[in-house]
């Protein structure tokens, strides 16, 4: 597999352009950065599938398409199943010699938002991971159903306000903690599972390359700040991603074969979570005196999680 050099961002961002800039994602949306990173990190042929969501509705509105490669969208929940069906067909046709180019390497990648990954497509994803297909699933995690106006998903963190978990005079927003999808996917025994962020673009590209190279089902959760529903200025997407990784709200790490955990980024000066929360409209209400306990809880959870990740990394088990 010929993998493009990733030494230089300018060069990397423009080579191998199979994802057209002409799409209708919001200005400042991180989805397109993440998708382009994936598509530019390999020269292999790509079969891409997408669950219904922001990415899908913004890139394939008839008679246009942003995809200069094979692409399929069925429904909200089944991108993993669609692409693994294609992967199975590829195996048979390769054996039978009925492919148009029988020697060309092909990679199979599914994209889903957090709604389709953590919630409605959870069963389809779990099934595809368990069956051991050779594919990579990438979750574009913006922590809400952004495509339909910002409803809560099971990826929405505690304390965020959404249209279906609203902050108000009697509520501080979502009451439940975010589901730990990375741990769940690692528990499937997948050979490669990671959480990556587009501000750390080199580690993201390397993680994507690893997932594509490793045979078997790989899963990557990517943080994708949502300018519309997190409520920040579209120019600040990478700033928000920096705050997410520097505060350890989104630690960057990988888990190999379900047990070997490696932390991929250690902030030199860990920022307090207030810096991250305060930069977004969806957490504004948490700064009222009566909600301060929620910020304390979030900080406590981050600290515990970071401790857990470090101990697991040290333990090498």
């Amino acid at each position: 597999m010929a993998i493009t050099s990733i030494k230089n961002l300018k060069e990397f961002s423009t080579n191998n352009d199979r994802f057209e800039g002409a799409h209708t994602l919001c200005p400042g949306c991180a989805h397109s950065m993440i998708v382009r990173e994936l598509m530019n990190c390999t020269d292999d042929n790509l079969v891409i599938s997408a669950n219904t969501g922001c990415l899908e509705v913004s890139t394939a509105v008839y008679p246009f398409t942003s995809w200069d490669t094979s692409w399929i969208h069925i429904g909200f929940e089944n991108a993993a199943t669609a692409v693994t069906g294609a992967e199975a067909m590829h195996k048979v046709r390769k054996r039978k010699g009925t492919l148009p180019d029988n020697d060309a390497p092909v990679k199979f990648v599914a994209f889903g938002g957090d709604g389709s990954t953590y919630d409605i497509g959870f069963q389809w994803l779990s099934g595809a991971m368990e069956r051991g297909h050779d594919f990579t699933y990438i979750c574009l995690d913006n922590e809400n159903y952004a495509n339909t106006g910002g409803q809560r998903s099971s990826a929405t963190p505690i304390g965020a306000t959404t249209s279906t978990a609203q902050a108000g005079s009697h509520s501080y927003g979502k009451k439940e903690k975010k589901k730990d999808i990375v741990a769940i996917m690692a528990a499937h025994g997948a050979p490669y599972v990671a959480q990556l962020a587009p501000n750390k673009w080199k580690s993201m590209a390397k993680g994507f390359q690893k997932a594509l190279e490793i045979e078997g089902p790989c899963f990557i959760n990517t943080v994708s700040p949502c300018t519309t529903e997190w409520r920040f200025d579209p120019k600040d997407t990478i700033l928000l991603t920096d705050l997410a990784t520097e505060s350890l709200m989104f630690p960057i790490y990988e888990i190999l074969d379900g047990h070997e955990l490696n932390i991929l980024y250690r902030p030199k000066n860990v920022l307090p979570v207030e810096d991250y929360l305060g930069a977004q409209g969806r957490y504004k209400h948490l700064f009222k005196p009566e909600n301060k306990h929620v910020i304390e809880q979030i900080q406590g959870d981050i600290d515990k999680n970071w401790e857990m990740l470090q101990r697991r990394e040290e333990a090498r088990i």
Partner: protein, 410 residues
Amino acid sequence: MAEKFDLNEREVWDGNYAASQALRQADVDVVAAYPITPSTPIVENYGSYVANGYIDGEFIMVESEHAAMSGCIGASAAGGRVATATSSQGFALMAEVLYQASGMRLPIVLNVVNRALASPLNVSGDHSDMYLGRDSGWIQMDAFNAQEAYDLTLCAFKIGENHSVRLPVMVHQDGFTTSHTAQNTYPLTDEAAAKFVGKIVPVDDMLDFSRPVTYGAQTESDWHFEHKIKQHKAIMDSRPVIDEVYAEFEKLTGREYKRVESYNMEDADVAIVALGTTVETARIAAEELKSEGIKAGIVAIRCFRPFPFDQVREALKNVKCVSVLDRSSPAGAMGAFFNEVSAALYTTASRPLVTNFIYGLGGRDFSIEEAKRIFKEQQAHADAGHITTDIQQFSGLRGPYLGFFQTKRG
């Protein structure tokens, strides 16, 4: 290369086994499936053919019927031959993706072993699941016995994969009465079957990277209507292709299939219109009634979609009274099959009397005696010149008499 599978000229197969042998002979590349009674043996058998080298394919055992059809869609878009099987609740769970398969014009073959829909839970045969698929954009063919399940499954690939059709095809058979009843079945040789079905030539192959394709785009009010009507036209236009494939199959085997099949209709005064194994029951009843001077015929719908509107009109134009038998709960309406047949008859000059019997739900037996009783009742309507009972009645239902709607034509 696949191992040689020994076949006798005459085999004793049930409907499930017959369908699975057709999948083997069609050299299906991918089966993504989830087991459900009574269709399970079809995909189990495919799995055993793969496990024993009788076919070179991928058997993907997924975690639900929704995923089964989703996997079939991905596999079919990747350019090979794809099939699966289901029943009842599994079919209902698949419903969302059935529409996606047809909208993407993917020639998947689905064996549907008809079974009732819960609640109450029931594993036996009726046509509720079959009716549920009627607006999904699939071609739907109905096999009345094991031989037909085999024959029509082979035909299904040839019809669906025809480049002027490019549509998914369901082959239905009645749960248990066909699927689990062993009968004499005459298979083709593997070579003859392979030659008849032919090799799939993919259109818009996702694995042809020289020509990238986007599957499952979005259309709003500017284009959605045109896409759906193009799809409707494609189903309508599949009629001559279905006829051609049936004709070619008859040349090969001597077994004749028509989109609408008629029995004893040449001089019939009264008729039953039915689907599935009930057709054979009604045929025996009609034969026995000859000695009583009742000229009874049967019109059986082989091809439920595209609905053979014109052939139904033609088949029934000379009878005086018709009873349409619906094996599905009408849930607040006339039977759906009754409505479709009646609509066709209303556009004829003769406009025969039409009644509706709901029967056989959840596997309730439908006897020859009951078919005779229905024929005789239609004869009474014909003699009176109007319907003398309620238009909708229930055959084989326990409890006090139930009926709905008096005729306004009498």
